[in-house]
């Protein structure tokens, strides 16, 4: 797991080419390694956008209107959960609880926490990310 986290940290995903190398290094079959990578929601098999927003879908955030907020955002961007904007700038991923449930709805954008989100705050964060061409 620490290796997979490191790969994802470096490449933004766990590259397919890494699977046989990992299998050999760890003395596992390729299927084993693939099984591990695919089990965990965090590990992507393809690169994400330049910026990643993890938007909380869990109950406490729903109780503060998080569901509608998320639906509206995805609709506006024309995305499904996990999708990336056409310009490759922003990926919206679901997350189930960030421990910010007393400041709901909540999100992490490139690891930066956002709480008490409303449409305005969420849109501002999204627009900022879409106009920010630096790598986080």
């Amino acid at each position: 797991m620490p290796i997979l986290h490191a790969l994802q940290e470096t490449f933004g995903h766990v590259p397919q080419q890494a699977v046989p190398l990992l299998a050999e290094a760890l003395n596992l079959s390729r299927a084993d390694v693939h099984g591990i990578v695919s089990f965990y929601h965090d590990f992507r098999d393809a690169p994400a956008g330049r910026h990643v927003m993890k938007l909380c879908r869990a109950e406490a955030c729903q109780s503060m209107g998080g569901h509608a907020l998320a639906e509206r955002l995805l609709h506006r961007l024309g995305l499904d959960w996990g999708g990336t904007t056409g310009d490759g700038q922003l990926t919206i991923e679901p997350v189930y609880c960030l421990g910010l449930c007393a400041c709901a709805p909540a999100a992490l954008i490139d690891g930066r926490p956002l709480g008490r989100l409303d449409q305005e705050r969420l849109d501002a964060a999204v627009n900022e990310a879409r106009n920010d061409w630096s790598r986080p």
Partner: protein
């Protein structure tokens, strides 16, 4: 009731100390910007100040809550935004001056006055990365005591305290420890379950960020008690800030001789590492967690064997929730009886309750077991944040029941909750107002289970997917009565045919929603609320 000894932060550096939380929930509402504005304004005014970053006191609706150290003690202001800072200086906040955001002494705030903070005694007060602060506030007295009385007496004390696991199942911690202590093995392990995945919970996270040495001390005591020299903290990737703080604390503890060999000058040896999960709720289940720690898929193991006998790498292992472990130091320090004197029935001591969701005063409320749910939600929590009527409270995370206000007389106690098919779990309470659609929430419970199932049992894996489809038909108003019956059947199959509580307890939120809020299910044809 016992009096709780007061806690204060240790050192006296130059300038007036200003405490700004670095808890991620405070950061999420602008704490870093506030700290920056304070530094800038102080420089502009030539005021001598020192900013100390702390954990959170847990009054999240007042975050960012800033405290200034004055002659009368710490005076709090909140919620402070960066733009308020010049006015706060102008109002003389460095000497506790009055301002609309002035809260007063935190200890006098009703939300804190009503609490009994044992596990959370230091959180939000001390600098989380200062060993001096930690020791000045009572830290390492528990371990010193454990070293003095030895492992067997330590296990005895934990048993006598009545502490039950705070991770969900409520199993007596002392009994678990005795099993591991009595097991014979070349290596034993202490594993801290910090995979806090329940929506509405953040107490583990607050300790990781606000009082990490307390967990380190608790795990070291556990190691001493059962004869384990190695420990792991299994945290989650959703908590990057907590993990960074914990990593820093571990480095500091190693450098200070509080981990490793000859701890506190004794012959005690304990090594501790942090591992981070990768977004799988089921890895909070203790055997899936162990699989994950071993680098495998987080698939639940059949029990027996118990992890206490065959746990990590097949060795005897204590797996405890973070809160269980973080409560150990105070039990050793102040005594098992002291702890056990709080609470009711078989629920001894205090519980860090987490008030979350649509609640006016959301936060961390640690109190002796026994308050009613209604007192907690309505009096302490102040009802909803939206100021609409409370309709439902989900207790104990995504596997816990939805309780209607008619059950607000339920005392906060493991057995009283169980008698109502409800869970204390990890202490989360998520409040919903009257706009909630309970059929939608039932669907969400099924969908979550389908998403997070480890795949080992058919009722959990397939049943939950079918369950979500059935709720969709109900939401669409198709054959409602027959579909509700089908949903109840599915729930029963899941309850009895699942290996762990993910499949086994998902029926509780679903069935409680049907039972207490039938009007949300018996609906005419409506546009489906689900995606």
């Amino acid at each position: 009731m016992n009096a709780v000894p007061p806690i204060s932060a240790a050192s006296t550096p130059s300038g007036i100390r200003i405490f700004v939380p670095r808890d991620v929930a405070a950061l999420a509402v602008g704490a870093d910007e506030v700290a920056g504005a304070i530094t800038a304004q102080a420089a502009a005014l030539g005021a001598a100040i020192t900013i100390v970053r702390t954990g959170s006191r847990g009054l999240f609706w007042l975050e960012p809550m800033v405290e200034v150290e004055t002659a009368e003690g710490r005076v709090a202001y909140g919620p402070v935004q960066a733009r308020d800072v010049p006015a706060l200086f102008a109002a003389g906040w460095l000497t506790g001056g009055s301002h609309p955001l002035r809260i007063g002494r935190p200890e006098d705030h009703p939300f804190l006055v009503r609490q009994t903070r044992l596990t959370f005694a230091r959180c939000g007060i001390v600098d989380p990365l200062s060993v001096d602060d930690y020791k000045a506030a009572g830290g390492y007295r528990g371990l010193a005591k454990a070293i003095e009385i030895g492992g067997a007496a330590t296990v005895e004390a934990v048993t006598k305290s009545g502490l039950r696991g705070r991770g969900g199942a409520g199993f007596p911690t002392g009994i678990k420890w005795k099993t591991v202590r009595d097991a014979v093995s070349d290596q034993k392990y202490i594993v801290c379950n910090a995979d806090e995945g329940d929506s509405g919970t953040f107490a583990d996270r607050m300790i990781l960020e606000g009082d990490p040495f307390c967990l380190i001390e608790g795990m070291t005591i556990a190691g001493l008690a059962v004869g384990a020299t190695r420990g792991y903290i299994y945290s989650r990737s959703e908590y990057p800030h907590a993990n960074a703080t914990m990593r820093a604390a571990l480095d500091i503890a190693r450098a200070a001789g509080l981990l490793g060999r000859n701890i506190l000058g004794s012959d005690l040896e304990f090594h501790l590492e942090l591992r981070v999960g990768a977004g799988a709720y089921v890895c909070g289940e203790e055997t899936a967690l162990l699989e994950s720690l071993e680098g495998k898929r987080g698939v639940v193991r059949a029990k027996p064997p118990l992890p206490a006998l065959k746990g990590l790498f097949g060795r005897p292992t204590v797996v405890n929730n973070l809160l269980s472990l973080a409560t150990i130091p105070v039990i050793l320090d102040l005594g098992a009886q002291y702890y056990a004197d709080f609470g009711m029935g078989r629920s001894r001591g205090t519980m860090p309750i987490q008030l979350a969701g649509n609640v006016l005063h959301g936060g961390l409320f640690e109190t002796a077991f026994g308050m009613t749910l209604g007192e907690i939600v309505m009096e302490v929590g102040g009802g909803t944040a939206s100021r609409r009527p409370v309709r439902a409270v989900q207790a104990g995370g995504p596997l816990g029941a939805y309780l209607p206000p008619s059950q607000f007389d339920t005392p906060y106690d493991y057995e009283a909750f169980a008698a109502r098919d409800a869970l204390i779990g990890h202490g989360g309470l998520v409040v919903f107002d009257d706009t909630v659609d309970m059929a939608h929430m039932a669907r969400f419970a099924m969908e979550f289970c389908a998403e997070e199932s480890c795949g080992k049992c058919t009722p959990c894996r397939i049943g939950s997917t079918r369950g979500a489809e059935v709720v969709d038909r109900i939401l669409a108003g198709r054959d409602v009565a027959a579909n509700i019956e089908l949903l109840e059947d599915l729930c029963n199959t899941m309850k009895f045919g699942s290996l762990c509580a993910l499949g086994g307890f998902t029926p509780y939120p679903v069935l409680s929603a049907i039972r207490h809020f039938p009007e949300d299910f018996h609906r005419g044809r409506l546009p489906a609320a689900a995606e």
